[in-house]
């Protein structure tokens, strides 16, 4: 395990300690599980099995239960995402305005499938359900930035923009 990853695991542990759950009952500890997973994903970027085990131990929950929760919710990922995760909204409003084609175009341009990451680790593609910006449909979120009213022609430009940003 890399030193960097280890220090991030440490941060997760420290965060759980800061919640002062020591001595609390099992039910209360369990109710913090999703909250802690959010924090862990924020720190590490994804939820590798090792960190799930750490969280299980700290919150007094069985590791298989933690795994069950991680795999149930779409928001949690066990694979690292790209530096700029591309989230194409496939909510209805975006879909009827052609976001399906935009998703295909991103896949074509980057040569990867959904939930895969490019070789350089820069981009990963994900389909998401309604980001709540239907007025801007079709919408794509790259990292935290929202790009609205797109057509397939914008795809190349966006990829180029982010590639240049990284240089």
């Amino acid at each position: 395990m890399s030193v960097e990853l280890e220090s991030k695991f440490k941060q997760v542990e420290e965060y759980i300690d800061s919640l002062n759950l020591e001595g609390k009952d099992k039910v209360t500890k369990r109710s913090y599980l999703i909250h802690v997973l959010h924090k862990a994903q924020e720190i590490i970027g994804y939820l590798p099995i090792e960190v799930q085990k750490i969280i299980a131990k700290k919150l007094d929950v069985h590791a298989s239960d933690v795994y069950g929760v991680v795999t149930f919710y779409n928001f949690f990922s066990m694979k690292p995402k790209g530096k700029y995760p591309i989230n194409v909204c496939l909510g209805t409003a975006c879909y009827v305005r052609g976001s399906g084609e935009i998703l295909e175009e991103f896949k074509k341009q980057l040569g990867i499938k959904e939930n895969e990451t490019t070789g350089d680790g820069l981009f990963s593609i994900h389909a998401v359900r309604c980001v709540g910006a239907c007025g801007l449909a079709p919408v794509v979120m790259i990292g935290d930035e929202v790009h609205g009213r797109l057509t397939t022609k914008d795809v190349k430009r966006l990829i180029k923009e982010y590639r240049e940003k990284d240089k």
Binding site: V27, R30, S31, H35, Y73, F75, T92, Y95, V96, A137
Partner: protein
């Protein structure tokens, strides 16, 4: 809609919840928000802290012996967590799987204790009703559905956004008057209401006054308050397939009708949109859809066949065109469309032949080109490129 209330006026929700808590004698409340709405989370957190500072939340509110505290719990991208028992499971830190009712949450809810669950819009309505009286609220809307409703108008209309209207306003008023009509002067085809498990309502019913009962009677529902307008370029079986893909993906997998039934429905829709279905498939799909509605455990499964059943009912011709004639009238379903070059319009500029990824287009410069149907993969690149309108989509 709920997102904008939480972002724009979070105090209205806090106040509504505090009043509701006082009414039932609760001391602890939770707001469950989608993790996809970070701004709403931030603003609500702020508002809760402000309310605590002013003594509107916390111990002994207004010097009384009533205490009430609020906590935020984040969702993690599971649609089924909108179902109340699944939402409770999620707050408790479990997979968001619904359970059978009864017992209802009001008897046995969070951690087995009596719990009330209401939507953001409901709580936001409480304070105005208390201030101005039930009579005022009843003066708006219809007899059975009083008050106003906020709709999220989207899709192929000119004006998209949130629209608050009295209950009983017609679909036509919302779409054509407020929404400004259909984009690019296209023809209105249907409006889909209520989110992924609502139904599609065709043009004949545009003058229906909207309330909870009328939408249900039309095979749709109020649901989330979403209103997606579709024009003539929308293929109804394709839309039904789109919604079903969502339900299949979001099914928690606990009950069989939803877990397996919806997958079978999706397979049949796939057959229809790719031109492999028979009339028996249509019949079977209808029976299966009704069975799922009757037997699924929670609201997700009980409504997931709605988009299929309503489009099959109102757009029967379109389904039959896919099954009998193997054509897609809206020109959406890839397997059922053919691209052809109109020899009279083609000037032989070679633009289409150059963009074709499979070299299916042949012809010499300044002479009409031709598409080899055997090779064509129907990607539509030529159609998008031609500047002379010479390529037809049939």
């Amino acid at each position: 809609m709920d997102r904008s209330v939480l972002e724009g006026d979070p105090h209205s929700v806090i106040e509504g919840m505090a009043i509701a808590a006082y009414a039932i004698g609760a001391n602890q409340g939770y707001v469950y928000i989608r993790a996809e709405y970070p701004l709403a989370v931030k603003r609500l957190k702020n508002a809760i802290n402000q309310a605590k500072e002013y003594g509107l939340l916390g111990e002994n509110i207004f010097g009384t012996n009533f205490s009430f505290d609020l906590e935020i719990r984040l969702g993690a991208g599971a649609f089924v967590c909108g179902e109340e028992t699944a939402l409770l499971a999620s707050i408790e830190g479990y997979r968001g799987e619904p359970r059978t009712k009864p017992p209802f949450p009001a008897n046995k809810g969070l951690w087995g204790k009596p719990t009330i669950i209401n939507n953001v819009e409901t709580f936001a309505n409480i304070a105005p009703i208390m201030l101005r009286g039930a009579k005022w609220f009843r003066s708006l809307g219809t007899e059975k559905s009083p008050g106003t409703k906020v709709f999220a108008l989207a899709g192929k209309v000119n004006n998209v956004g949130l629209v608050e209207v009295p209950m009983g306003t017609t679909l036509r008023e919302v779409i054509f008057d407020i929404g400004g009509g259909i984009r690019d002067n296209k023809k209105f085809k249907a409006v889909q209401t209520g989110g992924p498990s609502g139904g599609c309502i065709p043009a004949e019913y545009l003058d229906t006054p909207i309330d909870f009962d009328t939408l249900t009677a039309l095979g749709s529902m109020m649901g989330s308050g979403g209103m997606i307008v579709m024009d003539e370029n929308t293929c109804m079986p394709d839309v039904a397939k789109f919604y079903l893909e969502f339900s299949v993906e979001e099914s928690c997998g606990k009950c069989t009708p939803c877990r397996i039934g919806n997958v079978r429905l999706l397979e049949t829709l796939d057959k229809i949109t790719s031109g492999r279905a028979t009339m028996e498939d249509l019949e079977r799909m209808k029976i299966l859809g009704k069975t799922i509605k009757d037997s699924a455990l929670c609201g997700l499964g009980q409504t997931s066949p709605n988009p299929i059943l309503s489009t099959m009912y109102y757009f029967k011709d379109e389904y039959e065109a896919h099954v009998l004639d193997k054509t897609c009238p809206a020109g959406v379903c890839k397997n059922l469309i053919t691209y052809k070059i109109d020899k009279d319009k083609c000037v032989g500029c070679t633009a289409c032949a150059r963009v074709c990824p499979v070299e299916a287009i042949s012809g010499s410069i300044k002479n009409p080109h031709e598409i080899d149907q055997e090779v064509c993969i129907k990607c539509g690149a030529c159609y998008a490129t031609c500047r002379f309108g010479a390529i037809e989509k049939i």
